[in-house]
């Protein structure tokens, strides 16, 4: 047997030492893991464990050509912690007295450069660096050295949000001798100024400012979708935030190796609208022109693809910039196209005329005596609203519409009857929401016949005693352009995921058939005369193109009590090419102020706007003229009969 290499004393000493060490470790382990287990575990869980939220990116809103109307980007909020700088200065003077003043001068240079970068006066930054206190309750005064009812102010807001590129420059400010490479500078002379704090957050931004503001809507500062498409399509856009279970070290930095579980964030989908930025810009320019020229109370322009009912442009005056929504009034943010009601005036005349043709109550060749001042209807004498330009000979429905005769329209409505007129208005979408879906749409108002007063059968056909939204008149005119179907006005073309794959696609949606294609064709012929030489909208004419439409002028109802003699809502709703419609355009101007004796009628204020918009959109959308030979309809010859 080997004698071994150590004496028994040495062995005993070594063994004792080793076992004492292990014993001590063992005891400590027992204390930590058995005796103090619950307390230590609770502390560890509290300090180390953390659930880190993973923010999902909100989807973009794109126009028909894929250009961004709304997107999200990060901005960096800047603040000053003046006490951090005070502590730093004290530390420097204590530990590096020889260099302290030079470094503090360099810090001053950094702040000067910071002021330049973020466009804030240097003096203002220096003011923010003055340390201060805030009064707090004694119980809450736990975060500084003394419990004296005041605490150090450690966050003084400097900038609401600088762009990433600017923040990058701030982080690389150099305050050393000029010409010296950034990396060669001592650490104290480079980087962001001491005491500058930053907080990164995602914000919604609208790169095209007020363009299509009422359609796009906005997300408020808390990130809550508040209006327009942002709110309507929030389900698609918002995405789902994720989370990650992990641990943090004593400085609250994540310990990536202790990541346990993770539910990744799911980014929101992109929503592609049917709005075309160029069309939208065109109509907004026209609205600006109208605002400058006429100072109206309100104006609305709508442009729709006649074939499928998708909106290409929707603009309201007044408007707002979604980037600065908090500076706008509720009135400016109101989407008047769907949330404003008015008496439509003569544009409504197409409704009884079309339905009377559809039901056979009248025929295109039937003539009406429009020189009458009153007529006996259902045993009561009803007085007509006088025509502005009385016609003394019997006329057809073509003449009634092209000359916008109130007397003629009332006689047509009387042939439909009270209930027939009420049903006709409903069939064309009046008194019910259009299905547009957002913007606080209202239904308008048309009372049931049981609530009508005696004059209503003469007033409603002329567009009084009935309230509609601009969208309702627009879609009613679209019925004739769409061959007799009432199309749902749509604005979302498709929804795409983050890879650009189409998730949902939306197409033409007919709400119902209102009139037959034959009657729709007849109405197109009638409406083409409105924009002819002897119609009320002769200024709408464009060489080589058949324009169809209807003017409207309604006296404004003041305080829901009386009709103003000077304030009017002028409008024009039309489509072209009449025989193969591509676009439906509606222009509504509420209380335009014209110079001199000019009257603010639809023909004077809305028709020229329609014509300019149409002329600009024809080449842009490549709308080809429809010649008489290729037309499925026969163009009617103009002229009084």
């Amino acid at each position: 047997m080997s004698k071994g290499f150590a004496s028994s004393r040495r062995l005993a000493a070594l063994a004792t030492g080793i076992f004492l060490c292990f014993g001590a470790i063992g005891l400590r382990l027992v204390q930590l893991h058995v005796l103090d287990r619950d307390q230590m575990l609770a502390h560890a869980v509290k300090v180390r464990d953390s659930t880190i939220p993973l923010a999902a990116k909100r989807g973009d809103i794109l126009d028909a050509r894929g250009d961004i109307l709304a997107t999200s980007r990060s901005l960096v909020e800047l603040a000053i912690d003046p006490w951090d700088f005070v502590d730093y200065a004290d530390y420097l003077r204590e530990t590096r007295p020889a260099e302290a003043e030079a470094i503090l001068t360099a810090e001053q240079h950094k702040r000067f450069k910071l002021a330049e970068l973020i466009g804030v006066p240097y003096a203002q930054i220096e003011e923010l660096y003055v340390p201060g206190y805030r009064e707090v309750d004694l119980e809450k005064d736990l975060y500084d050295d003394a419990r004296d009812g005041r605490t150090k102010i450690r966050w003084v807001k400097l900038h609401a949000g600088v762009e990433e590129s600017v923040y990058e420059q701030i982080q690389h400010i150099a305050a050393g001798p000029s010409g010296e490479a950034y990396d060669a500078l001592p650490k104290a002379y480079r980087g962001a100024p001491r005491g500058l704090a930053a907080n990164r957050a995602y914000y919604r931004t609208y790169p095209r400012d007020q363009l299509a503001a009422h359609v796009v809507g906005f997300v408020n500062k808390e990130g809550v979708a508040s209006d327009g498409m942002e709110l309507f399509a929030d389900e698609y856009l918002h995405g789902y935030d994720g989370w990650r279970e992990s641990e943090r070290d004593g400085r609250r930095r994540e310990l990536a190796e202790y990541r346990r579980r993770e539910a990744p964030a799911v980014d929101g989908w992109d929503v592609v609208l049917s709005i075309d930025s160029v069309v939208q810009h065109t109509i907004e320019l026209e609205l600006l022109d109208i605002a400058t020229q006429y100072q109206p109370d309100r104006a609305v322009i709508l442009v729709t693809d006649a074939r499928d009912g998708f909106l290409l442009g929707l603009a309201n005056y007044p408007t707002f910039d979604p980037n600065r929504f908090n500076e706008s009034s509720a009135e400016e943010r109101r989407n008047a196209a769907v949330a404003y009601e008015y008496d439509p005036g003569s544009t409504f005349k197409v409704v009884p005329a079309a339905m009377a043709l559809e039901t056979g109550a009248i025929t295109p060749s039937m003539r009406f005596d429009v020189s009458l001042t009153s007529i006996n209807y259902q045993g009561i004498n009803r007085t007509f609203i006088k025509d502005d330009h009385p016609i003394l000979y019997p006329v057809t429905v073509h003449d009634i519409i092209s000359h916008s005769s109130n007397v003629g329209a009332a006689q047509i409505a009387m042939r439909l009857g009270d209930q027939g007129l009420f049903d006709a208005a409903h069939a064309f979408g009046m008194g019910e929401k259009s299905g547009f879906g957002f913007g606080g749409e209202i239904a308008g108002l048309i009372n049931p016949p049981s609530k009508w007063s005696a004059p209503d059968i003469t007033r409603i056909p002329a567009g009084y005693s009935i309230s509609v939204t601009p969208m309702q008149i627009h879609q009613a005119m679209g019925v004739f352009a769409a061959g007799g179907e009432l199309l749902r006005p749509q604005i979302i073309r498709e929804v795409r995921d983050r890879e650009g794959k189409t998730v949902f696609a939306f197409g033409r949606e007919a709400r119902r058939r209102v009139v037959s294609p034959t009657v729709a064709d007849e109405m197109r012929r009638i409406l083409m005369r409105v924009a002819s030489r002897d119609g009320t909208a002769r200024a709408a004419a464009i060489d080589g193109y058949q324009i169809a439409g209807k003017t409207g002028t309604a006296q404004k109802l003041i305080e829901k009590r009386y009709y103003s003699k000077t304030q009017h809502v002028g409008s024009f709703s039309g489509f072209f090419p009449a025989t193969d419609p591509r676009l439906v355009i509606t222009v509504i101007i509420d209380n335009a102020h014209l110079d001199g004796n000019r009257r603010n009628y639809g023909a004077a204020v809305a028709v020229p706007t329609f014509q300019r918009i149409a002329a600009r959109l024809i080449p842009y959308l490549d709308i080809k003229p429809v010649t008489a030979s290729s037309s499925p309809l026969l163009a009617m010859e103009g002229g009084r009969r």
């Binding site: 004698k3 028994s8 095209r208 310990l255 160029v278 810009h281 080449p619």
Partner: protein, 135 residues
Amino acid sequence: MKKSNAHAVLNQLLIHALVLICVGGTVGLSRVYLRHRIAVTANATKGFEYELAQVERDLAEVNTQIARERSPAALEHKNAQFRLLLAQPTEAQILRIDESPEDRLAAKRNIQRFATEAAGGSAAVRFQVVDLGRP
């Protein structure tokens, strides 16, 4: 003898204990090193994630800037600023044709070519034979 045997056993035990400690220590150190490598890799991954997030943030900013610059209002402003005099064509400037544009352009070009030939003194159209250099 007994004492020597006891020492030998103790020595054996001690050696085994030391070997155990060494092996245990090696295993422990390996485990620590492994944890360290995991931490380094995890931190590197975190760093890449941060860089990726930063790239996405920069991309979002650039996209926003591009969208702003491409807005119709901004383009019109630039048109005026640089006096480019660019304008949307009007319908009067557009000639609409029903035939194939390629055929039409070819015909137009050929008409011009023949007209040039005729103006040069020769009424007949001549075609030049190209020598391709073949035997």
